[in-house]
């Protein structure tokens, strides 16, 4: 019951997925070939854990041979990245049918991802999704991993989301999206792709957790002492946050938080569904045990901009809702004290119409650390998801860049050539302008 299906789209989604399933396997004690480790005397952590089948069930499907297969689908319009998985460390973990690749890619073009190239692959993807969904007893929802700026991540995802809403209308769909960093660009046409995909996906998603690369680069450089962070370091950090969000579904805890509970508590209006993610403590492995990270320390750290996974200043906005997911050695008494302390601070401003504002989840499993990674093992951690009006800054930046390019109709012919019309661009831009106005309205006092 309560199964979750993960769909990883495009290069970003697939690379994050690789790190994500690696971490899940470590947390559940599953080896790279899908078999659970027997509890040996030195694997006492695993023995300690309540090994009921229910904990695997949400993310892994057990075959008759005793292998655990992830409930995931990896989709890309070109084969290179997926071949990396097919030949990588986890090749025997996934069933070949879960790794889908096309032949020509979307070339950073939303129109290709959605209309021309994407439409050829969509039916196959939906069929595989249906197959995976049938294996589930009670499918809770979908977790979609993708980037906003790429062609497949933007175009194909919007197509897929529309079709998923058509087929599975009552299921939750949560997204983990990589938002284009303010000062670091990987593609010139990112703004176009982002605006177009946000416009078409907003009504089909229930909640989108955004992260951006620049924020994570800074964290890696300043806190973890990594001189030049590679995508591997960045993804490893991001999946710690993802793991915290899904921990309640996989492990027991005194205060569990379901997927639907996120939505209910974080999303005040259907369109205002872009929470900001923060994670604490982020400590370099060299500096393990230096400081005592008490519950109040890590809670305070979450509200600092240096621990956020998105570049935006929450002090410029107001909080609408806040979800704190603790894991590890945490007792409710300390959590209450920490939250009371935060509420009394001036820098944390809530909107007038939301008096209580905090949702808490506690899970007993401390975060697992990947061997050879940069993070230190800590005994307790917290992942904060906050819906703040300050995130409108991110949209404003994006819209501004879009306007600059669109005013000159630069790079537009690549989209028009694939069958798109200028009207769609205008419509999308209008939609985002309306989104900005919605945020402003929500943040106003009575």
């Amino acid at each position: 019951m309560r199964e979750c299906l993960s769909i990883h789209i495009g290069q970003a989604g697939i690379q994050i997925g690789d790190a994500c399933w690696e971490l899940y396997c470590l947390e559940h004690g599953i080896q790279p070939n899908g078999v659970v480790l027997d509890s040996q005397p030195d694997q006492l952590e695993n023995a300690k854990m309540e090994h009921t089948n229910a904990s695997f069930d949400t993310f892994f499907c057990e075959t008759r041979a005793g292998k655990h297969v992830p409930r995931a689908l990896f989709v890309d319009l070109e084969p290179t990245v997926i071949d990396g998985i097919r030949t990588g460390q986890h090749r025997s973990l996934f069933h070949p049918e879960q790794l889908l690749s096309g032949k020509e890619d979307a070339a950073n073009n939303y129109a290709r991802g959605r209309y021309s190239v994407g439409s050829k692959v969509i039916d196959l993807v939906l069929e595989r999704t249906r197959k995976l969904a049938e294996q589930c007893g009670g499918l809770q929802g979908f977790l979609i991993f993708r980037s906003f700026g790429g062609g497949t991540g933007s175009g194909f995802t919007s197509l897929l989301m529309e079709r998923l809403t058509g087929e599975y209308s009552r299921k939750t769909k949560l997204e983990f999206s990589v938002y284009p960093a303010p000062r670091i660009s990987t593609a010139v046409v990112e703004p176009y792709n982002c605006v177009l995909t946000t416009h078409s996906t907003t009504e089909h998603t229930d909640c989108t957790f955004i992260v951006d690369n620049e924020a994570i680069y800074d964290i890696c450089q300043r806190k973890l002492g990594v001189e030049r962070p590679s995508y591997a370091s960045i993804n490893r950090l991001m999946v710690q946050a993802v793991s915290s969000i899904t921990a309640s579904l996989r492990f027991e805890g005194p205060l569990n938080v379901d997927l639907i509970e996120f939505q209910t508590n974080l999303v005040p209006y259907p369109r205002i569904h872009f929470p900001m993610t923060a994670f604490a403590p982020i400590v370099s492995a060299d500096k393990a045990y230096r400081e005592q990270f008490s519950v109040s320390d890590i809670t305070t750290a979450c509200f600092e901009s240096s621990n956020q996974l998105v570049k935006c200043d929450p002090r410029l906005g107001k909080y609408m809702a806040c979800c704190l997911l603790y894991r590890g050695d945490v007792v409710p008494k300390e959590v209450n004290a920490a939250i009371a302390a935060m509420k009394s601070r001036h820098s944390v401003q809530f909107v007038d119409w939301c008096p209580t504002g905090f949702k808490v989840g506690i899970n007993n499993r401390p975060p697992t650390v990947m061997p050879g990674g940069d993070l230190a093992k800590v005994h307790r951690a917290v992942c904060m998801l906050s819906n703040t009006t300050a995130i409108v800054e991110a949209w404003a930046r994006l819209d501004h860049k879009f306007d600059l390019m669109y005013a000159k109709r630069a790079f537009l012919h690549w989209y028009l050539r694939e069958g798109m019309e200028e009207a769609e661009f205008l419509e999308a831009r209008e939609d985002l302008a309306a989104l900005e106005r919605d945020y402003e309205e929500v943040g106003q006092s009575f």
């Binding site: 030195d42 006492l44 952590e45 300690k48 973890l224 002492g225 990594v226 001189e227 030049r228 962070p229 590679s230 370091s233 005194p254 060299d286 500096k287 393990a288 045990y289 230096r290 005592q292 007792v331 409710p332 008494k333 007993n364 940069d374 005994h379």
Partner: protein, 464 residues
């Protein structure tokens, strides 16, 4: 905790408003009435004096401003280990998981250890005090991780502690002002990770005392003020027998300012990863890339630098650049492409111990590689030419700089303005000092000087 004036209190660690200190004296300090505690702060500038008041010495401090007298009620003795655990877990909700408990009596303080294989002792809020001379009634044979940060512990006490933990694998001793005073002989032999950060009194000579721990794989020496290291038992280009298993060394936030540091690190036989941020040598932002390359080239077996993997391509580029950058020095120090004629000076070998190896790997640097590039400025592209008028003896020889791309037509135009001779009458040719007597005619007006291979120091001959 109100046992303020018992002798028990001396040596205990206390905390006042976030600053840690050790109690050195308890008693009365005339003329002010009432009990006082004399404390020595961890931070040597926090105090007011060195333990003496109005002439009488009550206790001694390391620094003239290291001590203060404080009222006992202003001081926080912290909670001991047992109470801390009880407050945390036992009070309301009860422990959430089953725990294996192992009670060991230590001196006259019962200590409850909680956990499975690896256990972390809460530090710093605890003032660990060692009753001297008490018999041990048990050992922590399963203890693998011991954290004693900021406890004011000394090296002798560490070794004493370590005797109870024969299987100890990780030992954290940050901020204790430790001075390594003796070589650990039977203890600490299984230790894989040692963290000695922020112990400002450590210097490189003390490192020799821990150099023979057989299993030590990770050594963290951040912020200890170290500036150099030397392995005297190994000559240039050889491996040392010290630190035989050391794979990962962290030396961030130190005073390293000499490249010879990295040359010495090359002598470590197992070193695979190094973190060396925020040192004077590596601080300049402009040269960050070059610094990284130089470090990679200096330490041959390094696989990870500052937590970034060194890919084979990066290593190759770094080593080739190193070889080229110091090529001129190598030549001057006696280097030669022919290995028989190679006689390098001691000094060069000491400064660049890997250079010979790099020459073997990539070949000795060729002369054309070592030519310094002139910056691409216009003045470096000009040809210096002499202008002679062979048919007119009284005209002086002119020297002029002309660009090689100038066409013959333009040269003639300029000459005609200079000599007041019409362009059509001029006949140009040139000769080169490399081949005297041979004159080459510059016939085609539309071609440039460079087309005719006119070079620096050549001589233009003008006739009309």
């Amino acid at each position: 905790m109100s046992d303020t004036l018992t002798p028990d209190v001396i040596g205990r660690r206390v905390e006042v408003n976030g600053e840690h200190a050790t109690v050195r004296f308890a008693g009365v300090v005339p003329p002010v009435a009432g009990p006082w505690l004399g404390v020595e702060w961890d931070n040597p500038e926090r105090g007011k004096h060195d333990g003496s008041h109005e002439g009488t010495v009550y206790f001694k401090c390391r620094h003239p401003t290291g001590g203060s007298f404080i009222r006992p009620n202003k001081v926080n003795f912290g909670t001991d280990f047992l109470t801390a655990i009880k407050n945390r877990y036992v009070l309301e909700d009860g422990p959430e998981e089953d725990r294996k408990e192992q009670i060991v009596t230590l001196g006259n303080k019962p200590v409850e250890t909680v956990g499975f294989d690896s256990l972390m002792k809460q530090q710093s809020e605890n003032k660990l005090k060692f009753p001297s001379g008490s018999a041990l009634t048990g050992t922590f044979s399963a203890l693998k991780v011991l954290v004693l940060n900021q406890t004011g512990i000394t090296w002798a006490e560490v070794l004493w502690c370590a005797a109870w933990c024969p299987g100890l694998e990780e030992l954290y001793l940050e901020s204790n002002n430790i001075v390594i005073s003796e070589r650990p002989t039977d203890v600490l032999q299984t230790v894989k990770l040692l963290d000695l950060s922020s112990n400002q009194l450590i210097d490189e000579n003390q490192l020799y005392l821990i150099a023979h721990l057989p299993r030590l794989e990770q050594l963290i020496l951040s912020d200890v003020g170290i500036s150099s290291i030397h392995f005297p038992d190994a000559g240039i280009g050889c491996k040392t027998s010290m630190f035989p298993s050391l794979q990962y060394l962290v030396v961030n936030d130190n005073q390293i300012s000499q490249w010879s540091f990295f040359n010495e690190l090359d002598k470590l036989p197992s070193l695979r990863a190094l973190s060396c941020l925020r040192n004077p040598l590596t601080k300049e932002d402009k040269e960050a890339n070059m610094t990284r390359q130089l470090i990679i080239a200096s330490i041959g077996q390094l696989k990870t630098l500052n937590k970034c993997e060194i890919l084979p391509k990066e290593r190759r580029t770094a080593e080739l650049d190193y070889r080229k950058a110091f090529g001129n020095e190598w030549k001057q120090a006696g280097g030669h492409q022919d290995p028989d004629k190679n006689r390098l000076s001691e000094e060069f070998l000491r400064a660049h111990p890997r250079y010979q190896f790099l020459c073997l790997k990539y070949g000795a640097p060729e002369d054309w590689e070592l030519k310094t590039q002139q910056p691409f400025m216009l003045k470096n592209q000009l040809l210096t030419l002499k202008i002679k008028y062979p048919d007119q003896l009284d005209q002086k020889v002119l020297e002029k700089q002309l660009p090689g791309s100038m066409t013959i037509q333009k040269v003639k135009g300029w000459l005609s303005r200079l000599l007041k001779v019409p362009v059509s009458d001029l006949l140009l040719s040139y000769e080169s000092p490399k081949e005297p007597g041979i004159e080459i005619k510059l016939e085609n007006d539309l071609q440039s000087l460079r087309f005719y291979s006119v070079e620096n120091e050549d001589c233009l001959l003008v006739r009309w």
